[in-house]
Each structure stands twice: as structure tokens, then as C-alpha cells.
């Protein structure tokens, strides 16, 4: 099979996901504003957790748990959006 451009691009995305442990752990813009302006305590926990906060559960090494969460998410999103787009093309309606 010939390597297509998007095979390489997907590999590059997976490399980006592996950089996730290097990310800044400071609060983001919205969290910072909520802290500074005193409404951060309004935030509620999610009613269920799957891979909460991009840390794969049950793995001691946090960098590894973050990378695993990133790789899973990257592959899921590629698969889901590729699949949705493919279905939309396949069941194409002719422009009116």
C-alpha cells in the first residue's frame, strides 16, 4: 500500500499527542477568570468519569497516562470524523 499524505499527517498528530505531558498545568483563561472573579466554586464535577482530565485511569506514571489518553482521543477523533464524513459522502444528496 502506498503511503498517502494523511497517513503521515495522522502519525504527526500522534506525535503531537505524545508531547501532552509537556503542557503547562496552569489554569486556562476561563479558569483563571473564574478564580480571580470568585465564581470558580460554582463548577460542578461530572456525574461520571471515563478518562477524566486526560489521565488514563489505573496507571501510576502520570506522563504515560496522559500520553495514552492523548493517543486514544486522537485515534477516536480521526476515526469518528473520517467515518461521519465518509457516510455523508456515501449517502450524498444531489444539490437542489
Amino acid at each position: 500500500m502506498k503511503l498517502k499524505w494523511w497517513h503521515i499527517a495522522l502519525m504527526a498528530c500522534l506525535v503531537v499527542a505524545c508531547l501532552a505531558p509537556l503542557a503547562s498545568s496552569s489554569p486556562d483563561g476561563l479558569e483563571r477568570v473564574a478564580e480571580n472573579k470568585g465564581f470558580i466554586d460554582l463548577a460542578q464535577e461530572a456525574p461520571f468519569q471515563v478518562i477524566a482530565d486526560y489521565v488514563f485511569p489505573g496507571i501510576q506514571n502520570e506522563a504515560l497516562a496522559t500520553i495514552l489518553a492523548g493517543l486514544i482521543g486522537t485515534l477516536i477523533l480521526f476515526g469518528v470524523v473520517y467515518g461521519v464524513a465518509w457516510l455523508l459522502v456515501l449517502r450524498k444528496k444531489e444539490p437542489a
Binding site: W6, L10, R32, F78, K92
Partner: protein, 212 residues
């Protein structure tokens, strides 16, 4: 800028859900008419890249971080409705799997980072490239301005939702959100410009696809 549950009141939650559901429905209908085989891999790649890049928070001033939204990049390459589809999938996955952004706030998050950011990014890019011309430099300048503006505008809409919900008065939350996101937008602009320049250097044809 993912809003957790608890920040928005029921009226805002309901309104943003209705508007976003309508927006996503329209995006599906338009994509169903216009999407071609050539765009399919790029749709998947952009979703994968936006998810991965959103994990990479970069520090800005004052112990605060920001991350890419990616809507402007997707809208520049594929058009605003395709970008709404991609951003919605990313935001839904982040909400359901990674507990980033609340379940009740999902409508607002799709509205801010999906619809507002995609359309503002798309039209800002169109405006700048119409004014400056169609060469490489104006495309990169357009990409930077579109990306910066998309983050800035999304943060203003987010601030209005927070104020309407009674989380914080508008005169307090609006300048704070706009101020931090004016800085985060610079990061968005630089990343968007870098990806566009990579596309221009390797696969110019990806910038010539029909916009959806």
C-alpha cells in the same frame, strides 16, 4: 475555554443547546450536499490534530495557560460548516470521554468554540485575503488574524453567557475574559500560521478544496 457545569443557568443552557443543535443540524445538511471524497481524510486529520493540539496548554502571562481552539484553521481549510462539524465532534468527545467541559454546558461550548469561532475565523480570513491579495504572505497574515479574532470573539460570547447566567457581572467578566484571550489568541494565531505554512509548503492543493 471549556465551560464546566454550574457556571450557566438553565435558560442559557437551554438556549445554547437549541441554537447549537440547529447549527450542527444545518452543518450536517450542507456537508451532505457539498462534501466530496477529497475532503474526507482532511476532515479526520483536522479533528485528530485539533484534539491533540488542544491538550498542549502553553503558558501566557500571570500563571495562566491557553490552548489552541482550532476552529479558524478548520474553517480556513474546509469552510465554516465543515469546521462546525469537526469542532462539535471534538467537543462532544472531550465532554463525554475526558470530562472536559460540562454536559449541560456542551451546547454553549459548541456555540462558542464551534459556531462563533468557525464563522468569525472564516470571514476574517476571507476579508484579509480579499484586501491583501492571494499570495502566501497574505494567506499567513489572514490566518493569524482569523485565528486571533476567533479566540477573542469566542471569549466575549462566553463572557456574555456567564454574565447572563449571573456567575459574574458583565463589566467584571467581559474585560477579564477578553484580556486573557487576547493573549491566548496570539498562540492560536502562531499555531494556525505554522500549520498553514506547512500546508502551503507541502500540499497547496489542500487550500484549493471547495469550502463547505
Amino acid at each position: 475555554m471549556h465551560i464546566p457545569d454550574g457556571f450557566l443557568n438553565i435558560a442559557t443552557v437551554a438556549t445554547t443547546y437549541v441554537v447549537s443543535a440547529g447549527g450542527v443540524g444545518n452543518a450536517v445538511r450542507i456537508a451532505n450536499k457539498k462534501l466530496g471524497e477529497k475532503q474526507v481524510p482532511l476532515m479526520g486529520i483536522l479533528a485528530a490534530f485539533i484534539f491533540a493540539a488542544q491538550m498542549l496548554n502553553f503558558p501566557i502571562a500571570g500563571g495562566t495557560s491557553g490552548h489552541l481552539i482550532g476552529a479558524a484553521l478548520a474553517a480556513i481549510l474546509l469552510g465554516p460548516w465543515a469546521a462546525v462539524l469537526i469542532m462539535s465532534c471534538v467537543l462532544i468527545a472531550q465532554c463525554l470521554i475526558f470530562q472536559d467541559g460540562g454536559l449541560l454546558a456542551l451546547g454553549a461550548n459548541i456555540f462558542n468554540m464551534g459556531i462563533v469561532a468557525s464563522f468569525s475565523g472564516y470571514y476574517l480570513y476571507r476579508m484579509v485575503t480579499a484586501l491583501l491579495g492571494d499570495d502566501r504572505r497574505s494567506k499567513l497574515v489572514g490566518g493569524f488574524i482569523a485565528a486571533w479574532g476567533s479566540v477573542f470573539l469566542a471569549s466575549i460570547v462566553c463572557a456574555i453567557e456567564l454574565a447572563v447566567s449571573g456567575a459574574s457581572p458583565l463589566q467584571v467578566v467581559l474585560p477579564a475574559m477578553a484580556g486573557f484571550h487576547a493573549l491566548i489568541g496570539i498562540g492560536e494565531g502562531l499555531i494556525t500560521g505554522a500549520v498553514l505554512s506547512l500546508v502551503l509548503a507541502t500540499r497547496t492543493d489542500l487550500l484549493e478544496l471547495q469550502r463547505i
